[in-house]
């Protein structure tokens, strides 16, 4: 019995001590700002944020910024915290500052740096009345990422790929050389979701887009996309390890010059380059059935301040500090996208030549991310799952389109009810 008492007493002591240490961060006179970064430990993105934070804390000793690294479930984490009325003080909105989080975020159009926003971001960040809810570091200008070494070996000129037929011919050339034409992975919604998100704007004409925005989903139009993916799958264009491939496997294929095309944003080149710093990657616009090739644009790394934060002033002060050109440059240097603010030099890395050619010289048109504008919130996962079904052959073009229509109508009704 004595022993049990000792154990119980010791445990109570440990718990009491433990609970004190666990909540020690909220004690003292310092204001603590919780910042959900959405970046994993050890990545250049988190290191850049740590550098900026250290500078800020040395200039503002009464404010402590608690950087919380991210996981794959970040968006769910935020949703739960918003539902529980306990959002972090600052969080990385990653594409959703206006369309999902606007009701929870502090409007930032009156901040001193707001006038430095580039016009390219107007469609992406701002509402019709000019409000916006996050400090953007960069603007995603996404097209088809390609491995330049592989395309050169197969005698393919990416500048000549201006239609899906030309893209198909390029895939055939790659396949004949034993190179995987297109890589994707079902382990994360990203690759398949982006595949749909990038291709769909070129499937619809203006009238069809207006109809979709009004809430009418035409499966016949959507089947132009599902038929394309289904045919690519039947032609054997996707990586043979597709069903088991992780994001790392796909990145390794691109890094080791074994794959040609990847439908993902430039930021994903970080992971590819971590496997092979000498890999040569480029960016090309997405062919369209209804017009000229285009790039998809959207919000990438952007930081919003909770409008219910108890330390809103401190959080806004930190955001203003991040927006200063020298601090923002730290972040933009590693994002491989166009900077969202003037006074900050874009650092597109190896995408610089192709980006300059397409965006600055050829003035390729840009369209906003498809799901953010034309589909109800929550459709991205459906896009990813139906695309997965097409690649694995579990869905045919019609059943995939029907699946998307069901989800579209269900989510649309939820939104309107």
């Amino acid at each position: 019995m004595k022993r049990i008492r000792y154990v119980a007493a010791a445990l109570c002591g440990v718990l009491a001590l433990g609970s004190l240490t666990a909540c020690g961060s909220s004690s003292g006179s310092k204001k603590t700002v919780e910042f959900m970064t959405m970046q994993s430990i050890g990545t250049p993105q988190l290191k850049a944020l740590e550098t900026i934070t250290k500078k800020f804390e040395s200039k503002n000793p009464d404010i402590q910024i608690k950087l919380v690294p991210g996981t794959n479930t970040n968006e769910n984490d935020i949703k739960v915290r918003l539902a529980g009325h306990n959002p972090p003080d600052i969080w990385n909105t990653h594409g959703w500052s206006r369309d999902r989080y606007a009701n929870f975020l502090e409007p930032l159009e009156n901040r001193s740096w707001a006038k430095r926003m580039k016009p390219l971001g107007d469609d992406v960040f701002k509402t019709k009345d000019g409000k916006f809810y996050a400090l953007p570091a960069d603007i995603q200008v996404s097209g088809i990422m390609y491995n330049e070494t592989v395309l050169t070996q197969a005698g393919i000129d990416p500048k000549a790929i201006n239609s899906w037929d030309a893209f198909k011919q390029a895939c055939e050339k790659l396949k004949s050389k034993g190179i995987t034409p297109i890589v994707s992975s079902p382990k994360d919604p990203g690759p398949n979701g982006d595949l749909a998100d990038y291709i769909l704007p070129g499937v619809y004409n203006e009238a069809q887009l207006s109809s979709l925005k009004r809430g009418t989903f035409d499966t016949k139009v959507y089947e132009a996309y599902t038929s394309l993916i289904s045919q690519w799958s039947k032609d054997g264009y996707f990586n043979v390890d597709y069903t088991s491939a992780t994001l790392d496997d796909v990145a390794r294929l691109m890094a080791s010059d074994k794959a040609g095309f990847y439908f993902r944003s430039n930021g994903n080149a970080q992971l590819i380059a971590s496997y092979n710093p000498n890999v040569k990657l480029g960016l090309m616009p997405i062919p369209s059935n209804t017009g000229d090739p285009y790039f998809s644009t959207g919000e990438d790394m952007a930081f919003g301040v909770s409008k219910t934060s108890k330390v809103k002033d401190a959080a806004l002060k930190y955001i203003d500090f991040m927006a200063e050109p020298e601090n923002m440059q730290e972040l933009v240097n590693i994002l491989m996208n166009d900077s969202a603010l003037t006074g900050v030099t874009s650092a597109l890395g190896q995408f610089e030549p192709s980006y300059n050619y397409w965006v600055n010289e050829r003035k390729t048109k840009t369209v906003p991310f498809f799901d953010r504008i034309y589909l109800p919130n929550g459709m991205y996962n459906t896009l990813a799952k139906s695309t997965d079904g097409l690649i694995t052959g579990q869905l045919n073009p019609q059943s995939a389109a029907d699946q998307v229509k069901t989800s579209f109508e269900s989510l649309k009704n939820q939104k309107s009810s």
């Binding site: 019995m1 154990v7 119980a8 445990l11 440990v14 718990l15 433990g18 609970s19 240490t21 666990a22 909540c23 020690g24 961060s25 919780e34 959900m36 959405m38 970046q39 994993s40 430990i41 050890g42 990545t43 993105q45 608690k66 919380v68 690294p69 991210g70 996981t71 794959n72 479930t73 970040n74 984490d77 739960v80 915290r81 539902a83 529980g84 009325h85 306990n86 972090p88 990653h94 994360d188 990203g190 994001l247 790392d248 390794r252 890094a255 080791s256 944003s265 930021g267 994903n268 970080q270 992971l271 971590s274 496997y275 092979n276 710093p277």
Partner: protein
């Protein structure tokens, strides 16, 4: 050679063959069990740009930086301490409350108690994540988020039904005559439970400790929402922080996972005698 000695030799040969087949089978099972550890070890010593297969063991320029980063940037030692505190606290509460709740349920089989037992068992059918939002809101209101006691209470609640079920079944197998003997000697119900019944629950307690301990140590689903502060995070959500939407750190994550597994593996090595006894408790009456 007589036919009887031949048949003895044949039986011995069959026996030896059987033993060898069993050993071979055990070796294969061991290899299958050890493979994930081997892959984790090979991965943890490779720098990010080493694209060789996980099967290949790197023999030169080992990437010790992965281990250092897991400790320094990942804060793995801190998260191991957090996991130990939360696992010990939860397991202690589950065992104490489970045994205390099971005693009256096992000894007084009234209609009400049967209903209470069924109700507790039905709790096991509810997936914890289905009540996540109300649970999280409640914890926010009582300031239980990012505190040890908050997650300990939640994990105790989710692990308690199974513990009550196991303790109830075990206590029913203890003859009620022991309780009666204690009562005759003047002990009240509490004394009978603490002095007579509790010491006899060691085998089933070992089972509950193993099941609760491993479940709590490995818990990710609830801990990742309730413990978001890096200083309070347990090992599973911490390891997940090496993976995000665009970038992963497989080498560091593998090193962190190995460090996370080490305490459990060491504990099992020293306490396996009790664990095995606990696991087979109840199978023989």
């Amino acid at each position: 050679m007589s036919s009887s000695s031949m048949s003895v030799n044949k039986t011995e040969r069959d026996y030896k063959r059987g033993r060898w087949a069993m050993y071979l089978f055990l070796v294969i099972v061991c290899l299958v069990q050890l493979l994930p550890f081997y892959f984790a070890i090979t991965t943890s010593f490779k720098p990010a740009d080493d694209m060789s297969s996980v099967v290949t063991l790197r023999t030169h320029d080992l990437a010790w930086s992965n281990w250092l980063q897991a400790v320094n940037e990942g804060g793995i030692p801190r998260s191991i301490i957090n996991s130990v505190i939360i696992t010990v606290g939860t397991t202690f509460l589950v065992c104490t409350l489970g045994a205390a709740a099971a005693y009256p349920l096992a000894r007084r089989q009234t209609r009400c108690n049967k209903w209470v037992s069924s109700f507790m068992l039905s709790m096991m059918m509810i997936p914890p994540l289905s009540i996540l939002v109300p649970l999280y809101s409640f914890l926010v209101n009582i300031n239980g988020v990012n505190n040890y006691w908050g997650i300990i209470l939640v994990l105790t609640a989710t692990n308690l039904p199974l513990a009550v079920f196991l303790y109830t079944a075990f206590i029913r197998s203890i003859p009620p005559a022991i309780d009666e003997a204690g009562s005759l000697d003047g002990a009240n119900k509490l004394t009978v439970f603490v002095r007579l019944i509790l010491p006899m629950l060691k085998p089933v307690t070992a089972t509950v400790v193993i099941m609760t301990g491993s479940t709590v140590w490995n818990d990710y689903a609830l801990s990742s929402y309730i413990l978001t502060d890096p200083q309070a995070q347990t090992i599973a959500p911490r390891v997940a922080s090496f993976f995000s939407a665009n970038t992963n750190n497989l080498g560091i994550a593998a090193a962190a996972s190995l460090m996370a597994a080490a305490p459990i593996v060491i504990a099992y090595m020293f306490l396996q005698r009790y664990f095995i006894a606990g696991m087979i408790a109840g199978s023989v009456k």
